[in-house]
Amino acid sequence: MAAVGSACLVVAFLTVIYAAGAGLYAGRTGSRAAAVSGRRAIYCLAGLMLLATAILEAAYLRTDLSFRLVANNSSTDTPTFYKLTAMWSSQAGSLMLWVLLLSLFSSAVLYSTRKSLRDITPWATAVLAVVAAFFLGLMLFFEEARPFATLMPVPAEGNGLNPLLRHPAMMFHPPMLYTGYVGFTIPFAFAVGALITRRTGADWIHATRRFALIAWSFLGFGILLGALWSFAELGWGGYWAWDPVENASLMPWLTGTAFLHSIMIQERRGMLKLWNVSLVIGTFVLALLGTFLVRSGILQSIHAFGESTVGGPFLIFIGIVLVGSVALVITRRTDLRPEAKFDSLASREAVFLLNNLVLVALCAFIFWGTFFPLISEALTGKSESLGPPWFGLVVTPLALVLVLLSGIGPVIAWRRATVANLRRNFAFPVGALVATLLVLIFLTPAAGSGTSLIMFSFVGFTVAVVIQEFWRGSAARRSMTGEPRGVALVRLVGRNRRRYGGYLVHVGIAVMLLGVAASSAFADQQDARLSPGQSMKAGEYTITYRKPTAEILGDQSGTGAPITLGAILDVQRGNRHFVVSPSRNYYPSGDAGPISRFFEGEATSEVVVRWGLLGDFWAAVQPDIEALQGPIQEAESRFADSSGQVQATAIQAIVQSYANNPPPAAFRVIDTPMVVWIWLGGGIVMMGALTALWPGGSGRRRLSSVYAARLGRELERA
């Protein structure tokens, strides 16, 4: 079947070359046949990529080790759940995923615009096809990126999936991120089409706004899942490390956020056209950069799974996209002139622009911090990184401003805010801000951290703004229709999904940042080496190491680890007592002796987290297996040539010796407040995004009879 998969990719490559040609021809000549044919070629691309992906996934599921990718990233004993996800742990597999997602997104947008944007769509088809051709070219012409390369002779066993990736969040994190990255190709392609045809109004935005929002939502959810994975799997106790690949995913999300806000100004007032095309170009380039960072290995990162030769072509492609797009924007600058001007700095337009500037500044700082090692190496010959404290220093004040603006934006008036407007809309939120501040100062220990105090107060302000908006909106509808309050509220949201979905997103982001601020400022992290019977303290918890655990094939998390060593801990907080059992999984290495390989491979922490609304308890253990080296070496020399059964008995005896004579183990325990609010906030954001994305009926059905009648009368008069 590998041959069929390879044939799919070759035909897919030829198909997108044709689609690009057909799109360009249709764009230049207006040929309808060429435009439709190009669109159909993109549909064919989706079919071919679905077939190729199905072939590869089937090979993973049946562990067909003749596929090089399967042998490299899976094995017969890899759990089925992780066999399904192993595809995107490899470079070739993730490139496949990119093109598959791009083909599906492209098909969806070209189908939805099949009866509109006749001038722009052919050019957009060409752009989408060229992007697909680049990724398919990598898979066809670079040996290491070939998904259907085969091995001869076929190995007896595969390498297995990287143990760090054996976590449920990893099932969804990479495809979510990639869906986000890929999704931004759609508004980019249509922006290029709009620039080429000089149709720089809001048409291209109307056609692609939903895709941009889908991309933004998936990227955000992917980032959140990555943070959850980091917190629950990596064993260091945090959820964000300012790792280059984490940053690479955050940057397009920030510019994408700016884009989703600023297009409202273009739609409403015909302003910020140049800014919007620049943002969408920047977001797409950053999405490409994110993929490049993961796949090139250019910056040290836990995510960069090895050095790669596709880095060069990636960089060239990014350069071409950037230079070409900027040149296009410059040549069309006269078509991007605003149709209106800012009336006042105290207006919603100005607040949105300020919000955009803060988001872009955040992105610029993160870009600088991420690439600083490369910049410093180029200038001084020595690679230096800036580290989390630097990021915290520059990001924190900007995050505070963002939370405040996310509260001001929804209620400040368009064009020009009057004193009456400010008084009417800000009295309650400002009251909530002051009340939050006073409660925190006098009733909680939050006063110990100025940053947290400001953040909590701003969050109070933003939540109050949104409550006020829901209340006033439903009151306004109630007065017009006479509906009961609850019905009015539901119908208000249903008829204005984009607006009220957006408000929910604001609350979600504020709640997330509340969790970040609280957990950053008030966490108490303690490290200790303990023998059974000894205790340590972390925050308000007293932890006693009761006894070790040692199991063969006893991993509770289903990762397929053969050996698990851990500890049973008694935890006391006031009158509350509970028992937890953190552990560490050991996976066999491929290049050591028959017994020692079981102790010298990768190891992963199985962290224990007790979630709570106000505080979380987090614990990890690192057993000291140095003490087992003696028995391991002895067993290796005595049983190296023995049967598998004998070797298994020897391994079991070694593992049991750890339980019988436990050496001191290293523990990390964290009493951290409100981390769970980050995930709750993420849930609210997703709920808001879903509300905004929820499909509605046609304008004709949604148009109220009042509007229809009034418009009809005016039409007669006109």
Partner: protein, 89 residues
């Protein structure tokens, strides 16, 4: 052999699909249909804008003067769209 066979079969299938518009086997959609579709979308967007403005006014984010001005502009634009839709009939 399997590779060549797959290549030929897939290439033929794709060719059949993409060639259809060229040989006249598909309704390509007339300019009038497309224009109507665009205008319907524009009308929907304009109605949404009118509702947005009304809600902004009702919740105190648009002064009376600005509301009247914006509402008049938007309704004028909506009427233009309706006129253009009528012209297609």
């Amino acid at each position: 052999m399997e590779y060549v066979l797959a290549l030929v079969v897939l290439a033929v299938l794709v060719t059949v699909v993409v060639a259809r518009p060229w040989v006249g086997g598909e309704d390509l959609g007339g300019r009038v249909d497309e224009r109507r579709s665009e205008l319907e979308a524009a009308k929907e967007a304009k109605y949404r804008e009118i509702r947005d403005v009304q809600l902004d006014h009702a919740t105190g984010k648009l002064s009376e003067e600005d509301y009247k001005k914006t509402d008049r502009e938007l309704r004028g634009q909506a009427i233009e769209i309706l006129k253009r839709l009528d012209e297609l009939d």
